[in-house]
């Protein structure tokens, strides 16, 4: 399967995905129930939820964070992500 791209850049080179703050997360699973892209995965043990498929995350989408009561989900800074994508695109253009 060919690698997925976003705005012409290999998705794997864009570090856009949620980060769970386990100090805050109460494993209510709202985010996992919400997200249709299987970014999260449930686990047995102390840490019951992990970001298993970061590349499935839709770049610039932060919807799961809005469902998070304890405010445990954060995302990379948007302007620097845009800057990175621009940089990668220009590299791509230069070949």
């Amino acid at each position: 399967m060919p690698e997925t791209t976003f705005m012409g850049v290999p998705r794997s080179r864009i570090p856009w995905a949620p980060t769970i703050d386990y100090q805050k997360c109460d494993f209510c699973m709202e985010c996992d129930e919400f997200c249709p892209h299987r970014v999260f995965e449930r686990r047995d043990g102390d840490v019951k939820l992990v970001v298993a498929n970061p590349d499935n995350c839709v770049v610039f989408c932060r919807a799961c964070a809005k469902t998070c009561g304890p405010d445990a989900i954060s995302f990379p800074d948007k302007p620097s992500t845009v800057a990175l994508i621009k940089k990668l695109r220009s590299e791509e253009d230069e070949g």
Partner: protein, 286 residues
């Protein structure tokens, strides 16, 4: 009366106390008229006339921007917006956390008030805060479509006049205005749309900020803005009939923006034929 001042007056942070002090100073020394944020929230009609006739200065304490949001909710566009926490940060100083203002905080309030007063004295004309509703701008319906067929689905993409971001949002530009909406591909993936949570009029959006949320019978979807600008209109018809997006995705615009950086935004968007190729790829991956 020279202008209106709406300050957050936040009671839980020193920045709020400073904002309040700024408003009082402007009223005492520069003849500004105070809009009480609590009253504006409770009885917006009280200030309707004043907002329609005068310019407005908004002073917020912190980035939560309550006063700015109250102004936006009243349909008012501030001529000047000041954020106390930003001023403190830019000055490289730290505001003591006391809610009762000490000498340093009072100095800060005076500086901010003087700066606002000076800028307002130099400002031209009355510039009412609540503008007349912006007149209609002509957005032509799509003339021709590319059709991407995948399984039983047919995804239509306008050949010209529309640009797309990688989050499946279209933008149509007319002069300095742009309309944004959801592509045919995405509306079909979402299936029946049941709710559109519209953005606030007056909200400033940067490219790739989420502009609003859309709910369907299958999923919730964040509308990621393809452009930067200020929201000037929302499509109120979608409130009662969100399914219109399913019926005619390119006519069912969600918001209209006054563009602020179109030339730059454009470089990160694709045109219809390029988006069609993108849709083909995405549909194959699904």
């Amino acid at each position: 009366m020279s202008y209106l001042v709406l300050a957050c007056t936040g009671l839980d942070k020193a920045e709020g106390s400073v904002a309040r002090e700024v408003a009082i100073r402007l009223a005492e020394e520069a003849g500004a008229a105070i809009i009480c944020p609590v009253a504006l929230n409770r009885i917006p009609a009280r200030y309707k006339k004043a907002l329609a006739e005068n310019r407005l200065v908004v002073v917020d304490g912190c980035a939560t921007g309550c006063a700015g949001k109250l102004a936006a909710a009243a349909g008012a566009k501030p001529a000047l917006r000041v954020l106390v926490s930003d001023v403190v940060k830019q000055a490289g100083s730290v505001l003591p956390p006391d809610l009762r203002l000490g000498p340093d905080a009072l100095d800060l309030a005076r500086e901010i008030a003087d700066e606002i007063a000076a800028r307002q004295a130099a400002a031209p004309g009355p510039q009412p805060a609540v503008a007349q509703k912006p007149g209609p701008v002509a957005f032509a319906p799509p003339a021709d479509f590319v059709v991407v067929v995948h399984d039983k689905y047919e995804f239509r993409i306008p050949v010209t006049g529309f640009f797309f971001n990688a989050n499946d949002i279209w933008v149509q530009v007319a002069g300095s205005r742009a309309r944004v909406g959801i592509s045919d591909y995405m509306q079909q993936r979402l299936t029946d749309i049941t709710y559109v949570d519209p953005p606030e009029i007056g909200a400033t959006i940067e490219q790739f900020d989420d502009i609003c949320t859309v709910e369907s019978t299958k999923a919730a979807f964040e509308v990621v803005s393809p452009v930067s600008g200020r929201v000037v209109l929302v499509n109120e018809a979608l409130e009662d009939a969100p399914e219109a997006i399913n019926e005619d995705p390119y006519d069912s615009w969600i918001a209209e923006l006054e563009l602020s950086a179109w030339e730059e935004d454009r470089t990160l968007l694709v045109d219809g034929p390029a988006y069609a190729a993108e849709v083909e790829r995405k549909a194959a991956e699904d």
